[in-house]
Amino acid sequence: MSGPLAVIGVGQSVQAKRREVTIGALVREAVDEALADAELGFGDIDAVVLSKTPDLFDGVMNPELYLADAMGAVGLPVTRVFTGGSVGGHAAIFGAHLVAAGLARRVLVVAYSKESEGNFTWALSRGLPFSSHLGAGAGGHFAPVIREYIRRSGAPEHIGWKVAVNHRHNAARNPYAHIRRADLTVEEVRQSPMLWDPVRYLESCPSSDGSCAIVVTGAELARRAPRPPAWIHGMAWRTETGHFAGRDEVNPQAGRDCAADAYRQAGIADPAREIDVAELYIPYSWYEPMWLENTGLAAEHDGWRLVDADRTAFGGDLPVNPSGGVLSGNPTGATGLLRFAEAALQVRGLAGEHQVPGARRAVGHAMGGASQFHALWVVGSEVPG
């Protein structure tokens, strides 16, 4: 790498069913906010990276074309990345690579989804030749994997309910979140309809409209930024193939490798102690203990014990998803970048009401496909090295 890199601007839209705005206007909300945060104009940006989940979700093909104007990308290099739900993380890392490679001084990374203009579960359930047509959507895919986690770890069933409550309580402190429920109780989650055993309705992510944008730059310009930068201490992505019997989807090798690589770059030997806050890609509540273990923040089979002991709740020693996370807002194309951006906000001290006091090092994490695609970065308040 050419030297330290940093995030100097973060923007996001309110996540909700946003039928009152076009896709372009939704994207522009995040772009404007990120540039305002960095006190920059479109003329200061050298390249744009767009993150988006499948185009079949909302029907716009190659949306970088339509969004060129909304992103201020006219006259610039634009790359549209897609690697499943992890795409926001991949886009952030690719943006950082462009700066590290000397090909751009400041990169605007943009992400969005407008789920209300399409049908997510339909798009995910297209019949394929030579495959059984399940029509199960994402939850139907993940439920058996969760059951296997419960079997292996011996976790009690209230863990899932507790995660759902923690994240929705956190979201009540985040004005951008879609589902904000300060009053939610474990009992209400327990009583909510069973969707895909053991996943109940209130343990599931919503389908949201929303956008996110960040500005990534090198050390020299980061030091001149008007607000504190989030310094990138380590970043990695890993992919594993989805179709073979030797794969462990409960604790995927790609996720473990990805986290280990990022921690190595960051000089982190004991992530559970050295990380102050984590924004993890948790679309169903049980993925909190699963990803805590997969990203090295908890020992194998012990992730649920951190939840049970309230250590991952907002006041705990390792708060997970203080923003409310994916369970409280899920514009899929932006969901991964939101995790990366929220981690940056925490170490910049700019997370507002959901700021974790004294957060100095944070993890942003994204995953996609059938847990095949993983991206993770470690950001810090101090210049790395």
Binding site: G41, N62, D69, R126
Partner: protein
């Protein structure tokens, strides 16, 4: 670039799935440079779900890559030429020595491309108009003809060069999207392409004649055809200029150019914008010989590099495009020699060490970006000239002074003509 392989572009492959199409091509590309999949440090690919009619179609292609143990990998939902750009950027980080880029395109799979391609347009204002797949290209070709930059006969002459059919016979064919005829349009097909990239000494070790990627850039234009001057391609010009800065030689200096021309009319437009002089254009036959959707641009890069790797060419250019009427364009400059033969850049070293200052610092931070300037429609331009040559770049310049006197007179005369009947009408009443 140390290796390039592609499958034959067939009109419709209904025997193989995505992984089956790309796997033999991956094998061929790796065998040619003596590597195995395990030797590759980074993978990048390009494809698009809308041709496949499903979500996550690219996951299927990963079975051909064999992503186990887990790999460092990324994917663009675009033409794989942009995956090539990502891999090229990645190699400059010094985190690895080799990268594989693959592209799969199956234009034939879509039951009706007239339903698919308009989905690229603004979903609120343009897509509901449902222009068919060639409609916007037809408008661009018409704009070029109306501007006196092109004739229908010239289009036929371009096609004649590729297809060995007499110009007059081509002129007899009916229009599909006037002024375009069926033979002016790249035929849909299915193919895969694979390129292996290696850094510095690794490349030298793997092949006697690597094609060095000297410069690469891509640029986007506004989406709205109604506010673009369709008779030029400023994004191609800008990408070419930037690629030339990185490469240390001009686009005019190449001997071979592989252009992503999905329509015949795009060839002279791109040749003019890139300032190509004596370059042989599309010796491969170009996309008019086969358009495998998102593999098409990557194949241009591969075909350009092939002529360096076989020792017949010293400098070559590849172009890729996406979007209606050339909205997004990429230019890649390749050469038989690396930029500085005396001091090959070690990818493990910081970029500044071997890179000229302007490459490491693309732009002064305080300097605002030069706005894309629409060309004044009233301004004459010689055929074969890039838009800029006839266009003042000063936005503050009043419009009238940039116009030739005749145009100004014509505009002045118009109100007088309009006024006369009104007076007459008043007298009659």
């Amino acid at each position: 670039m140390v290796s390039f392989a592609q499958s034959p572009c067939v009109p419709a492959d209904r025997e193989h799935d995505m992984a089956e199409i790309v796997l033999p091509v991956i094998r061929e590309a790796l065998d040619a440079c003596g590597l195995t999949r395990d030797d590759i440090d980074f993978f990048a690919s390009g494809s698009h779900d809308f041709y496949e009619g499903r979500t996550f179609s690219y996951i299927e292609s990963l079975d051909a890559v064999g992503a186990w143990p887990p790999i460092s990998e990324s994917h663009v939902e675009m033409d794989a030429a942009w995956a090539f750009a990502e891999a090229w950027a990645w190699l400059q980080l010094g985190e690895g020595q080799t990268a594989m880029v693959y592209g799969i395109g199956r234009s034939s799979l879509a039951a009706d491309l007239d339903q698919i391609l308009p989905a690229q347009l603004d979903p609120y204002l343009l897509a509901p108009l449902r222009p068919h797949r060639d409609a916007l290209a037809g408008l661009q070709a018409r704009a070029l003809i109306d501007a006196g930059l092109l004739t229908e006969r010239q289009l036929a002459e371009i096609v004649s060069r590729y297809k060995d059919v007499a110009v007059d016979k081509l002129m007899d064919a009916p229009h599909v999207a006037a002024p375009l005829r069926a033979h002016d349009i790249a035929p849909p097909g299915d193919a895969a392409a694979v390129i292996v990239l290696a850094a510095g000494d690794t490349a030298r070790r793997l092949t006697a004649h690597p094609a060095w990627v000297r410069g690469l850039d891509h640029r986007m234009e506004t989406h709205y055809p109604g506010v673009r001057d369709l008779t030029c391609s400023p994004s191609t010009r800008r990408a070419g200029e930037r690629a030339a800065e990185l490469a240390g030689f001009a686009t005019a200096d190449v001997q071979v150019a592989e252009l992503h021309t999905e329509y015949s009319y795009q060839e002279p437009l791109l040749v003019a914008e890139l300032g190509l002089k004596n370059a042989e254009v599309n010796p491969s036959g170009g996309p008019l010989a086969g358009w495998p959707a998102t593999a098409t641009g990557l194949i241009r890069i591969g075909e350009a590099a092939r002529r360096i790797m076989d020792g017949t060419t010293g400098r070559a250019l590849a172009h890729a495009t996406n979007g209606p009427a050339l909205q997004h364009n990429l230019v890649c400059l390749l050469a038989a020699q690396p930029r500085d033969p005396g001091q090959p850049r070690d990818p493990g070293q910081p970029r500044d060490a071997a890179q000229p200052p302007e490459a490491a610092q693309p732009r002064e931070p305080e300097q605002p970006r030069e706005p894309e300037q629409p060309r004044d429609a009233g301004q004459p331009r010689e055929p074969g000239q890039p838009c800029d040559a006839a266009q003042p770049r000063d936005a503050a310049q009043p419009r009238d002074t940039a116009q030739p006197p005749e145009a100004a007179q014509a505009r002045d005369a118009a109100p007088a003509r309009d006024a006369a009947p009104a007076r007459d009408a008043g007298e009659a009443r």
